[in-house]
Assembly symmetry: C2
Homo-oligomer: 147 residues x 2
Protein backbone atom coordinates (compact mmCIF):
# COMPACT_ATOMS: atom_id res chain seq x y z
CA UNK A 1 0.00 0.00 0.00
CA UNK A 2 1.33 3.38 -0.95
CA UNK A 3 0.93 5.99 1.72
CA UNK A 4 0.38 9.43 0.28
CA UNK A 5 2.10 12.18 2.18
CA UNK A 6 -0.06 15.28 1.93
CA UNK A 7 2.79 17.72 2.19
CA UNK A 8 3.71 20.87 0.30
CA UNK A 9 5.37 18.88 -2.47
CA UNK A 10 2.28 16.78 -2.98
CA UNK A 11 0.05 19.81 -3.46
CA UNK A 12 2.64 21.66 -5.56
CA UNK A 13 2.70 18.64 -7.84
CA UNK A 14 -1.05 19.09 -8.23
CA UNK A 15 -0.49 22.74 -9.09
CA UNK A 16 2.10 21.58 -11.66
CA UNK A 17 -0.55 19.33 -13.22
CA UNK A 18 -2.67 22.46 -13.63
CA UNK A 19 0.29 24.34 -15.10
CA UNK A 20 0.76 21.54 -17.63
CA UNK A 21 -2.86 22.01 -18.74
CA UNK A 22 -2.14 25.70 -19.36
CA UNK A 23 0.95 24.73 -21.37
CA UNK A 24 -1.09 22.38 -23.55
CA UNK A 25 -3.46 25.27 -24.26
CA UNK A 26 -0.52 27.48 -25.19
CA UNK A 27 -1.00 29.64 -22.12
CA UNK A 28 1.81 30.82 -19.85
CA UNK A 29 2.18 27.63 -17.78
CA UNK A 30 1.05 28.56 -14.30
CA UNK A 31 -1.18 26.37 -12.15
CA UNK A 32 -2.81 26.69 -8.76
CA UNK A 33 -4.71 24.60 -6.23
CA UNK A 34 -6.46 25.71 -3.06
CA UNK A 35 -6.40 23.31 -0.14
CA UNK A 36 -8.57 23.11 2.93
CA UNK A 37 -7.88 20.46 5.56
CA UNK A 38 -5.61 18.55 3.20
CA UNK A 39 -8.30 18.46 0.52
CA UNK A 40 -8.10 20.27 -2.80
CA UNK A 41 -11.25 22.38 -3.03
CA UNK A 42 -10.39 24.33 -6.18
CA UNK A 43 -8.04 24.22 -9.14
CA UNK A 44 -7.10 26.78 -11.74
CA UNK A 45 -4.71 27.34 -14.58
CA UNK A 46 -3.93 30.41 -16.58
CA UNK A 47 -6.60 31.06 -19.26
CA UNK A 48 -5.78 34.63 -20.27
CA UNK A 49 -5.19 33.88 -23.95
CA UNK A 50 -8.16 31.61 -24.44
CA UNK A 51 -10.56 33.98 -22.71
CA UNK A 52 -8.87 37.17 -23.94
CA UNK A 53 -8.98 38.26 -20.33
CA UNK A 54 -5.97 39.55 -18.45
CA UNK A 55 -7.72 38.77 -15.15
CA UNK A 56 -7.96 35.02 -15.83
CA UNK A 57 -4.83 34.01 -13.95
CA UNK A 58 -4.61 30.59 -12.29
CA UNK A 59 -5.01 32.05 -8.78
CA UNK A 60 -8.02 34.21 -9.70
CA UNK A 61 -9.83 31.26 -11.23
CA UNK A 62 -9.04 29.05 -8.24
CA UNK A 63 -10.10 31.70 -5.70
CA UNK A 64 -13.41 32.30 -7.47
CA UNK A 65 -13.99 28.53 -7.61
CA UNK A 66 -13.05 28.02 -3.95
CA UNK A 67 -15.41 30.79 -2.84
CA UNK A 68 -18.16 29.29 -4.95
CA UNK A 69 -17.47 25.90 -3.37
CA UNK A 70 -17.36 27.15 0.21
CA UNK A 71 -20.18 29.62 -0.39
CA UNK A 72 -18.09 32.26 1.32
CA UNK A 73 -16.05 35.28 0.32
CA UNK A 74 -13.42 34.28 2.84
CA UNK A 75 -11.00 31.38 2.75
CA UNK A 76 -9.36 31.80 6.15
CA UNK A 77 -8.57 28.13 6.63
CA UNK A 78 -7.14 27.60 3.18
CA UNK A 79 -3.70 27.32 1.65
CA UNK A 80 -3.01 28.43 -1.89
CA UNK A 81 -0.38 26.56 -3.92
CA UNK A 82 0.81 28.20 -7.10
CA UNK A 83 3.72 27.27 -9.34
CA UNK A 84 4.90 30.88 -9.77
CA UNK A 85 4.93 33.79 -7.30
CA UNK A 86 1.60 35.65 -7.61
CA UNK A 87 1.45 38.97 -9.45
CA UNK A 88 0.11 42.09 -7.76
CA UNK A 89 -3.44 41.46 -8.94
CA UNK A 90 -3.44 37.93 -7.56
CA UNK A 91 -1.73 39.05 -4.34
CA UNK A 92 -4.54 41.59 -3.93
CA UNK A 93 -7.16 38.89 -4.47
CA UNK A 94 -5.40 36.63 -1.94
CA UNK A 95 -5.46 39.50 0.54
CA UNK A 96 -9.20 40.01 0.09
CA UNK A 97 -9.87 36.28 0.41
CA UNK A 98 -8.01 36.11 3.73
CA UNK A 99 -6.25 32.92 2.65
CA UNK A 100 -4.01 31.73 5.50
CA UNK A 101 -0.95 30.61 3.58
CA UNK A 102 0.65 31.04 0.17
CA UNK A 103 3.07 28.42 -1.09
CA UNK A 104 4.72 29.13 -4.42
CA UNK A 105 7.25 27.33 -6.57
CA UNK A 106 9.49 29.84 -8.28
CA UNK A 107 9.78 33.60 -8.00
CA UNK A 108 8.71 35.96 -10.76
CA UNK A 109 11.45 38.56 -10.82
CA UNK A 110 9.60 40.83 -13.23
CA UNK A 111 5.95 40.65 -12.31
CA UNK A 112 5.83 38.98 -8.90
CA UNK A 113 4.10 41.03 -6.21
CA UNK A 114 7.30 41.23 -4.17
CA UNK A 115 8.94 43.29 -6.91
CA UNK A 116 6.48 46.06 -5.98
CA UNK A 117 5.62 45.67 -2.32
CA UNK A 118 4.58 43.27 0.39
CA UNK A 119 0.89 43.94 0.94
CA UNK A 120 0.36 41.09 3.34
CA UNK A 121 -0.21 41.38 7.04
CA UNK A 122 2.10 39.35 9.22
CA UNK A 123 -0.52 36.73 9.88
CA UNK A 124 -0.32 35.31 6.36
CA UNK A 125 2.40 32.68 5.96
CA UNK A 126 4.38 32.78 2.72
CA UNK A 127 6.67 30.00 1.56
CA UNK A 128 8.61 29.95 -1.71
CA UNK A 129 10.84 27.43 -3.46
CA UNK A 130 8.67 24.30 -3.32
CA UNK A 131 9.55 22.16 -6.39
CA UNK A 132 11.23 25.31 -7.62
CA UNK A 133 13.26 23.65 -10.35
CA UNK A 134 10.24 22.04 -12.03
CA UNK A 135 8.09 25.15 -11.73
CA UNK A 136 10.83 27.35 -13.21
CA UNK A 137 11.75 24.91 -15.96
CA UNK A 138 8.16 24.85 -17.22
CA UNK A 139 8.23 28.65 -17.55
CA UNK A 140 11.69 28.79 -19.13
CA UNK A 141 10.83 26.15 -21.73
CA UNK A 142 7.63 27.98 -22.59
CA UNK A 143 9.34 31.30 -23.22
CA UNK A 144 12.26 29.66 -25.03
CA UNK A 145 9.82 28.01 -27.44
CA UNK A 146 8.14 31.38 -28.03
CA UNK A 147 11.34 32.99 -29.24
CA UNK B 1 -30.55 71.36 -28.01
CA UNK B 2 -28.48 70.16 -25.10
CA UNK B 3 -24.87 69.64 -25.97
CA UNK B 4 -23.31 66.83 -23.95
CA UNK B 5 -19.79 67.50 -22.88
CA UNK B 6 -17.96 64.21 -22.81
CA UNK B 7 -15.54 65.20 -20.09
CA UNK B 8 -14.30 63.45 -16.96
CA UNK B 9 -17.34 64.55 -14.97
CA UNK B 10 -19.69 63.09 -17.55
CA UNK B 11 -18.05 59.67 -17.41
CA UNK B 12 -17.66 59.78 -13.63
CA UNK B 13 -21.38 60.41 -13.43
CA UNK B 14 -21.85 57.20 -15.42
CA UNK B 15 -19.60 55.39 -12.97
CA UNK B 16 -21.75 56.82 -10.17
CA UNK B 17 -24.83 55.33 -11.86
CA UNK B 18 -23.06 51.96 -11.66
CA UNK B 19 -22.19 52.59 -8.00
CA UNK B 20 -25.86 53.30 -7.29
CA UNK B 21 -26.75 49.89 -8.73
CA UNK B 22 -24.29 48.27 -6.31
CA UNK B 23 -25.87 50.22 -3.46
CA UNK B 24 -29.35 48.98 -4.41
CA UNK B 25 -27.99 45.43 -4.26
CA UNK B 26 -26.51 46.09 -0.83
CA UNK B 27 -22.97 45.92 -2.17
CA UNK B 28 -20.22 48.38 -1.26
CA UNK B 29 -21.21 51.17 -3.69
CA UNK B 30 -18.42 51.34 -6.22
CA UNK B 31 -18.96 51.71 -9.94
CA UNK B 32 -16.77 51.77 -13.02
CA UNK B 33 -16.95 52.50 -16.73
CA UNK B 34 -14.31 51.98 -19.39
CA UNK B 35 -14.20 54.50 -22.19
CA UNK B 36 -12.65 54.28 -25.64
CA UNK B 37 -12.83 57.27 -27.98
CA UNK B 38 -15.47 58.94 -25.83
CA UNK B 39 -17.66 55.83 -25.91
CA UNK B 40 -18.43 53.64 -22.92
CA UNK B 41 -17.46 50.12 -23.94
CA UNK B 42 -17.92 48.42 -20.56
CA UNK B 43 -19.60 48.96 -17.22
CA UNK B 44 -19.23 47.26 -13.88
CA UNK B 45 -20.33 47.54 -10.29
CA UNK B 46 -19.23 45.70 -7.23
CA UNK B 47 -20.87 42.26 -7.00
CA UNK B 48 -18.75 40.59 -4.32
CA UNK B 49 -21.61 39.86 -1.94
CA UNK B 50 -24.05 38.60 -4.52
CA UNK B 51 -21.49 36.31 -6.17
CA UNK B 52 -19.68 35.41 -2.95
CA UNK B 53 -16.53 36.31 -4.81
CA UNK B 54 -13.91 38.70 -3.51
CA UNK B 55 -12.60 39.19 -7.05
CA UNK B 56 -15.87 40.66 -8.37
CA UNK B 57 -14.96 44.31 -7.96
CA UNK B 58 -16.40 46.93 -10.30
CA UNK B 59 -13.10 47.37 -12.15
CA UNK B 60 -12.51 43.63 -12.61
CA UNK B 61 -15.96 43.14 -14.08
CA UNK B 62 -15.55 46.14 -16.38
CA UNK B 63 -12.07 45.06 -17.54
CA UNK B 64 -13.26 41.53 -18.34
CA UNK B 65 -16.25 42.98 -20.22
CA UNK B 66 -14.10 45.49 -22.13
CA UNK B 67 -11.64 42.78 -23.18
CA UNK B 68 -14.53 40.60 -24.28
CA UNK B 69 -15.94 43.53 -26.26
CA UNK B 70 -12.67 44.49 -27.93
CA UNK B 71 -11.62 40.87 -28.32
CA UNK B 72 -8.24 41.79 -26.92
CA UNK B 73 -6.34 41.34 -23.67
CA UNK B 74 -5.06 44.89 -23.98
CA UNK B 75 -6.95 48.15 -23.58
CA UNK B 76 -4.20 50.59 -24.48
CA UNK B 77 -6.50 53.28 -25.83
CA UNK B 78 -8.94 53.14 -22.96
CA UNK B 79 -9.66 55.22 -19.89
CA UNK B 80 -11.03 53.65 -16.72
CA UNK B 81 -13.36 55.71 -14.54
CA UNK B 82 -14.04 54.41 -11.06
CA UNK B 83 -15.77 56.11 -8.16
CA UNK B 84 -13.19 54.97 -5.58
CA UNK B 85 -9.41 54.53 -5.90
CA UNK B 86 -8.70 50.96 -7.06
CA UNK B 87 -7.43 48.37 -4.59
CA UNK B 88 -4.20 46.49 -5.21
CA UNK B 89 -5.96 43.65 -7.05
CA UNK B 90 -7.68 46.06 -9.41
CA UNK B 91 -4.51 48.11 -9.85
CA UNK B 92 -2.76 44.89 -10.85
CA UNK B 93 -5.50 44.09 -13.36
CA UNK B 94 -5.28 47.64 -14.77
CA UNK B 95 -1.55 47.18 -15.14
CA UNK B 96 -1.99 43.92 -17.08
CA UNK B 97 -4.66 45.48 -19.30
CA UNK B 98 -2.35 48.37 -20.26
CA UNK B 99 -5.19 50.86 -19.79
CA UNK B 100 -3.90 54.35 -20.63
CA UNK B 101 -5.56 56.39 -17.92
CA UNK B 102 -7.22 55.91 -14.54
CA UNK B 103 -9.65 58.54 -13.29
CA UNK B 104 -11.05 57.97 -9.82
CA UNK B 105 -13.42 59.86 -7.58
CA UNK B 106 -12.35 59.54 -3.98
CA UNK B 107 -9.31 57.94 -2.38
CA UNK B 108 -9.50 54.76 -0.34
CA UNK B 109 -7.20 55.45 2.58
CA UNK B 110 -7.35 51.87 3.86
CA UNK B 111 -7.40 49.63 0.84
CA UNK B 112 -6.46 51.85 -2.09
CA UNK B 113 -3.42 50.67 -4.05
CA UNK B 114 -1.47 53.80 -3.18
CA UNK B 115 -1.48 52.81 0.50
CA UNK B 116 0.82 49.96 -0.51
CA UNK B 117 2.80 51.07 -3.54
CA UNK B 118 2.61 52.65 -6.95
CA UNK B 119 2.94 49.80 -9.40
CA UNK B 120 2.29 51.89 -12.48
CA UNK B 121 4.85 52.88 -15.06
CA UNK B 122 5.07 56.57 -15.80
CA UNK B 123 3.16 56.23 -19.02
CA UNK B 124 -0.16 55.63 -17.26
CA UNK B 125 -1.99 58.84 -16.36
CA UNK B 126 -3.73 58.89 -12.99
CA UNK B 127 -6.22 61.53 -11.95
CA UNK B 128 -8.12 61.61 -8.65
CA UNK B 129 -10.82 63.82 -7.18
CA UNK B 130 -13.38 63.87 -9.99
CA UNK B 131 -16.85 64.32 -8.40
CA UNK B 132 -15.04 63.43 -5.19
CA UNK B 133 -17.76 64.63 -2.85
CA UNK B 134 -20.49 62.50 -4.44
CA UNK B 135 -18.29 59.43 -4.70
CA UNK B 136 -17.21 59.72 -1.06
CA UNK B 137 -20.69 60.48 0.23
CA UNK B 138 -22.04 57.30 -1.33
CA UNK B 139 -19.43 55.27 0.53
CA UNK B 140 -19.86 57.11 3.83
CA UNK B 141 -23.65 56.72 3.79
CA UNK B 142 -23.29 53.03 3.04
CA UNK B 143 -20.98 52.33 5.95
CA UNK B 144 -22.97 54.59 8.28
CA UNK B 145 -26.11 52.59 7.52
CA UNK B 146 -24.22 49.36 8.24
CA UNK B 147 -23.36 50.40 11.77
Amino acid sequence: MTVINFDDEYFMRQALIEAAKAKEENEIPIGCVIVSNNKIIARGHNMSEMLNDCTSHAEMIAITAAEEFTNSKYLQDCKLYVTVEPCLMCAGAIMWSQIAEIIYGTRDLKRGYSVFCNPFAKKIKIKGGILEQECRQLMQDFFKDKR
